[in-house]
């Protein structure tokens, strides 16, 4: 078969397309964005008209994916780890409703928080929902698991979680593809009330889910993704989950392991394989790129002298992602030390792009706030969070999508005046609209700045649901039209911006200020593309 050079995230997308998927639903979020973008640009996906447009947020994505599954078709939902918090209600309940067409929930975790607010481990959510979890070690496994995942989902009639971490999501390797499957035909669930979670039915469905657990374990027991490598030296055994297996292999080339190794790629835990390694080895080292989930399960709460080693006993650092050197140290192997970084090398943190509209907004906001005092600006998730860094130091919070508006409201209720929220256009339609409605209902005295750059910027410039709709949304939610003010954030309009911000901060009620100018990155890209198109015409 054809060999493709793909990121781990892209391999999931290709596997799902080849596996007969009819649609993907997602909101962008590093490191998961590339899964959906790949489907958007894939030739077969375009020919088949697979659904791949962005959703407003992860919850709407999860629900739409479940709807496609209800109709008998195969669907995938993608998000970053914190996105699963947003989708959690639908996600947990989807295990109770079960599926009709195969459903894969692909979640990309970000240990070490390269581009995130926390490093939560989505396997806990998978376990919480009591569904099978796939955790690939390689790009090829990512492809294979997505390809085969729909069938397992349909066999068990429940959704499947696919969990990857940043390094696999954003690492490229060659993968072999498999024959393209047909899409499923539209069919309704056999039981017309399968998806009706009225208590009487939910109780039945939940018992069904509990009854399925042993079947899931049998599947994991015979899964080709859970491989036992026997070895003579039983002084140690190693359980390597997902990508941790690669770091283990790096230390023992050609898979020549001196100790027994269990490579783990499919959950729930395969009982007999885990029992074997724990029983036959004096100590067991657990390697997990995330929280110590397997370690906690095996260790037991009261056993302080446990033979189980890992993040909880300090063999491996408690936080942060794994790498080959951390694993080498845990194995007691000698680690090479390279040269030191010379002292003159300065930090180079990310920053707002030159010419970015957020810069002009923060300049105006800072000047306005001189009159109103410090620590009154709540912000949100996006490029504009960089306004927390020097030289701006403009914002005082960044917690979760949409929290700027609701936190400003709570602070206003407590007496902070003026309470300011700074939120991006895409974050606003993701989770800010209901927050604004709360403020409108109570006519809270606060000012919401929706910095509209016409895109989802931080993740690379995906379409924003807010584009062309912001004023209508705000007025529709009940903000008075005369207090929905639009500005053009450019240095030459600085004074005007300060003036408008000042007026709205003095207003006792909900006001929305929308500074609007296209993201400098998407602008440059569209100009470049136009140029290429012109050149193609000329040729």
């Amino acid at each position: 078969m054809e060999k493709l050079l793909l990121l781990g995230a892209e391999a999931i997308a290709q596997g799902a397309i080849d596996g007969g998927m009819s649609g993907v639903y997602a909101y962008p979020g590093t490191p998961s964005t590339e899964i959906t973008e790949y489907v958007q640009h894939n030739k077969i996906a375009i020919e088949r008209k697979l659904h791949s447009q962005w959703s407003a947020n992860e919850k709407t994505a999860m629900e739409a994916g479940l709807g496609m599954s209800y109709a008998g078709k195969r669907a995938m939902v993608c998000m970053k780890h914190v996105g699963l918090n947003v989708a959690a209600d639908a996600f947990i309940n989807s295990a109770i409703t079960g599926v009709n067409g195969g459903l894969i929930v692909a979640v990309a975790d970000d240990p070490s928080m390269h581009s995130s607010q926390n490093e939560q481990d989505s396997r806990f959510f998978g376990k919480f929902a009591m569904i099978p979890i796939f955790e690939p070690a390689s790009q090829q496994e990512a492809y294979d698991m997505a390809y085969e995942g729909f069938e397992l989902s349909e066999k068990l009639k429940i959704p499947i979680m696919m969990r990857i971490t940043t390094r696999l999501a954003h690492s490229r390797a060659g993968i072999e593809t498999r024959p393209l499957k047909l899409e499923k035909k539209l069919t309704y669930p056999e039981d017309p009330i399968q998806f009706v979670l009225l208590p009487s039915n939910a109780r039945k469905r939940y018992k069904g889910l509990l009854g399925l657990q042993s079947l899931m374990e049998q599947e994991a027991e015979r899964s080709s993704f859970n491989t036992y490598y026997p070895a003579r030296n039983k002084s140690l055994g190693i359980i390597a989950c997902g990508i941790a297996f690669n770091y283990l292999m790096e230390n023992y080339p050609e898979r020549k392991f001196p100790y027994p190794v269990l490579q783990l790629g499919q959950y729930p835990l395969p009982f007999s394989k885990v029992e074997k390694i724990v029983n036959e080895c004096e100590q067991v080292l657990i390697l997990e790129d995330g929280y110590p989930l397997v370690e906690e399960m095996l260790k037991g709460y009261l056993d302080k002298n446990s033979k189980i080693k890992g993040r909880l006993d300090g063999t491996i650092p408690r936080d942060g992602e794994l790498n080959p050197d951390i694993v080498a140290k845990a194995l007691g192997k000698e680690v090479k030390f390279g040269m030191k970084v010379p002292a003159i090398v300065a930090n180079r943190p990310p920053e707002l792009c030159a010419g970015c509209s957020h810069r002009d907004i923060y300049n105006a906001l800072n000047e306005t706030m001189k009159e109103f005092g410090k620590q009154k600006v709540f912000s949100d998730i996006g490029c504009y969070t960089l306004g927390a860094l020097p030289p701006w130091n403009s914002i005082n919070s960044c917690v979760d999508m949409g929290a700027s508006i609701t936190m400003a409201k709570g602070a206003a209720d407590a007496g902070v005046h003026p309470a300011i929220a700074v939120i991006g256009d895409s974050t606003f339609t993701h989770s800010g609209m209901t927050a604004l409605l709360d403020a409108v209902v109570e006519n809270t005295s606060m000012t919401v700045i929706i910095s509209d750059n016409g895109t989802t910027g931080m993740t690379g410039g995906q379409a924003s649901h807010a584009t062309g709709r912001l004023e209508e949304i705000c007025i529709g939610l009940g903000v008075k039209p005369e207090h929905v003010r639009t500005l053009t954030p450019l240095p030459k309009y600085h004074d005007e911006m300060v003036q408008v911000l000042r007026e709205e901060m003095l207003y006792e009620g909900v006001s929305v200020v929308i500074p609007r100018r296209e993201c400098i990155q998407t602008l440059a890209r569209s100009k470049k593309e136009q140029k290429v198109n012109v050149e193609e015409v000329v040729r």
Partner: protein, 193 residues
């Protein structure tokens, strides 16, 4: 054969294009490849790196262990030094000397060059200047790949073929300019190593 390469620079300087060309060249030679990139927040003007590994044999880790990289290719001089812990004792540091200054505490250039010259195997090249000379000022990243090419175990012709595939969509003129800059970088290294 095996080459473990660290690519470094500042977000937006085009290190991923270097990786893409080497990736194409590796595929043409039926080599295994793994390449870990940085996406997301750091791409906004922050320090970025990519771990690029090519080998005849199956590659285990997506990340290069410390002290094992054969080459650091950097499109920016200060960034070349940030990844020294990964460079092996006999490894080559190949760096552009044109600084990208977007911070207020950027070090003194003379001290920076002195640090680079402390390394036993290094190539310091003004890639921006060379790119201008071959009239392709935006291809300094390909100058850097050319300058590193004598130390990468892949036939030079395959790198040219890689450029053809990656830049095909942008037209023959762009392809040729990138190949010219690749060549200019290689010639510099050949005469300075």
């Amino acid at each position: 054969m095996k080459s473990d390469i660290i690519l470094s620079g500042v977000g937006g300087q085009g290190i991923l294009s270097i990786a893409a060309v080497v990736g194409m060249a590796a595929l043409e030679n039926h080599l295994y490849l793994k390449q870990a990139e940085v996406h997301g927040m750091s791409q906004r003007g922050g320090a970025v790196q990519s771990h690029l590994r090519i080998s005849e044999r199956e590659i285990a880790s997506d990340l290069i262990p410390e002290g094992r990289a054969d080459i650091i290719i950097s499109v920016e001089p200060m960034e070349s030094l940030r990844y020294l812990p990964w460079l092996s004792k006999n490894g080559w540091l190949v760096t552009n000397t044109t600084p990208f200054v977007n911070i207020t505490d950027y070090p003194d250039m003379k001290e920076l060059i002195a640090e680079i010259e402390k390394l036993p195997h290094h190539i310091a090249i003004n890639a921006d200047e060379i790119a201008r000379q071959v009239k392709s000022p935006r291809s300094s990243n390909m100058v850097m790949l050319g300058a590193a090419s004598p130390f990468i175990d892949i036939p030079y012709q395959s790198l040219e073929n890689g450029i053809r595939k990656i830049f095909e969509r942008k037209g023959e003129k762009i392809v040729q300019l990138n190949i010219d800059t690749l060549k200019a970088g290689r010639e510099f290294s050949e005469s300075h190593k």
